[in-house]
């Protein structure tokens, strides 16, 4: 290429690109998305540790007898938690993890600062979810995670059980007119159960699903039986994916295992199915058609047909979990959904719609 050609290309590229006037920089959205990435990354690290521990635990049975191995599980951490000190403005709690001090401080701008961790502005909102004794958020890195929560005003303490059976007692501290709790723990540990206590005893409890606190039960409510069912499975990029539903102590949750980023999704009280087909969750890469759909159908729907761009039609068979039929679909190629149709067992069409109707979850 000659110098003139280079210069001309530069000018034409400049002419084509410099005229673009970007919208205002979406700082808030970027921070939220960045935090989500961090949380996913952290969850991935935790899962990796769990797999490593699992493999390590399995290895002794494969070794000849007499081959001595050191215990593979990491030592149980020593975690201390104390309510925030009035001498430290905004402090929700402080303590130590294996002797290393931490503190969690709430700012007036609702941001949370934790020792050694990124600032987090996703503190649980001013309203607790209906029926919840506490709502939690967290921020962390590969090593430690700070969890903080809003609690109901009549809660005097929370007993948080972690995945290594450690039980932490959290006492709420009122800041800016609202009660909060917080603790820090190694990232590999997740919450398995939380019990809320009031002045006269136990108020309620929550059983976590993969660390997520989704549903609170009253103290006199028995633990609901756990029902699980695989509601969808398929192959993408040559790898099998599956969606398993869980209905029980933690409420309604789904776990996606597949070739791309998955993870659990939990739902609160979603009520009865009021339309033939209801979309519950869609996920997409930014700026692209969704690559994941999760929904439910009325009992008489036996088959769901998705019409995808390119003329491809996909048939899904909704499967039952705890009396409700669900469906799921994952396609890494993210073809645009042009339309859908629901059929009964006899092949009669019960309902149909456009892909646009599934753009936003309805529940």
């Amino acid at each position: 290429m000659t110098g003139n050609e280079s210069q001309e290309l530069r000018e034409r590229l400049g002419g084509a690109l410099e005229v673009i006037e970007p919208s205002p920089a979406p700082l808030g959205a970027v921070l939220r998305q960045g935090k989500t990435i961090r949380r996913r990354r952290r969850a991935g690290i935790a899962a990796g540790v769990a797999v490593a521990v699992g493999i390590a635990a399995a290895v002794p049975s494969l070794l000849p007898h007499g081959a001595a191995l050191q215990p593979v599980s990491p030592p149980r951490p020593v975690i201390t938690v104390h309510p925030g000190r009035s001498s430290v403005p905004g402090e929700i709690a402080h303590g130590t993890v294996n002797g290393k001090p931490w503190k969690v401080v709430l700012g007036k701008d609702a941001s949370v600062r934790s020792t050694g961790l990124p600032i987090d502005a996703s503190v649980p909102g001013p309203q607790l979810s209906a029926g919840h004794d506490a709502d939690f958020s967290s921020t962390g890195n590969a090593r430690v995670t700070s969890t903080y929560g809003r609690v109901r005003r009549d809660v005097t303490s929370l007993a948080v059980t972690l995945s290594d059976e450690t039980v932490l007692t959290l006492r709420p501290v009122t800041l800016y007119g609202r009660p909060y709790v917080a603790f820090q723990a190694p990232t590999r540990l997740t919450i398995t159960k939380v019990v809320a206590y009031g002045p006269y005893g136990e108020l309620g409890y929550a059983v976590a699903f993969k660390g997520m606190v989704n549903q609170w039960l009253r103290s006199d409510q028995p633990v609901p039986p756990l029902v699980t069912a695989r509601i969808a499975t398929g192959v993408a990029d040559g790898k099998t994916w599956s969606i398993t539903g869980y209905s029980g102590p933690a409420g309604l949750c789904f776990d996606v295992v597949g070739p791309s980023e998955g993870g659990p999704s939990c739902f609160g009280d979603v009520g009865p199915v009021s339309r033939p087909v209801e979309i519950m969750e869609v996920a997409s890469d930014p700026g692209h058609p969704p690559d994941f759909y999760l929904g439910r159908v009325q009992p008489d729907v036996a088959r769901l047909e998705l019409l995808l761009a390119g003329g491809q039609a996909v048939n899904l068979r909704p499967l039952e979990l705890a009396g409700v039929k669900y469906f799921g679909y994952l396609n890494n190629a993210a073809p645009r959904l042009l339309g859908w149709a629901a059929y009964d067992a006899a092949g009669n069409q019960l309902a149909s719609g456009s892909g646009r109707q599934w753009t936003k979850p309805r529940l």
Binding site: L9, A16, P22, V30, Q33, G34, P118, G310, N332, R336
Partner: protein, 167 residues
Amino acid sequence: MDTDKDAEFSEFMQGRWPELVRLGYGLTGDKGLAEDLAQTALAKAYASWPRVRSAADPAAYVRAIMLNANRSKFRKRRVPEQLTSAVPDRPGADPSGSRDDRSAMIAALQRLPHGQRCVVLLRYWMDMTETEVAATLGCSVGNVKSQASRALAKLRSSADLADGMVS
């Protein structure tokens, strides 16, 4: 991340946002997608801000994140079809012809393979040296040279650019 560092990221983002969106526009040919891509890259940078800010050139680091994000399998397989119930408005005539020229340039870029498009944008729009382009794309200087050569040959033969730069 403390308040100072958040403020630092905010300042960095405000400064890089226009350039990233324009680079994204060159990569995707769509302003909305370009902003999504820039947002994704910056979110990834925020998630790893301590590492990004300590890089020799944080802006180059974020550009690399963005180019990788655009190269991901999701984007490669992107279905360009748009659902629409009406024919889009046709643009009015541009007496100067500059809009047609700009559109032709963007259209020609979109027909290049991803790697060649990256090289053209970095080398000729961002004025980076071949060594810098190679470092950003994680390939050899020789690869940059060959990609640039092939890209320019395609641009020369582009009907849209027939009256343009490289006759």
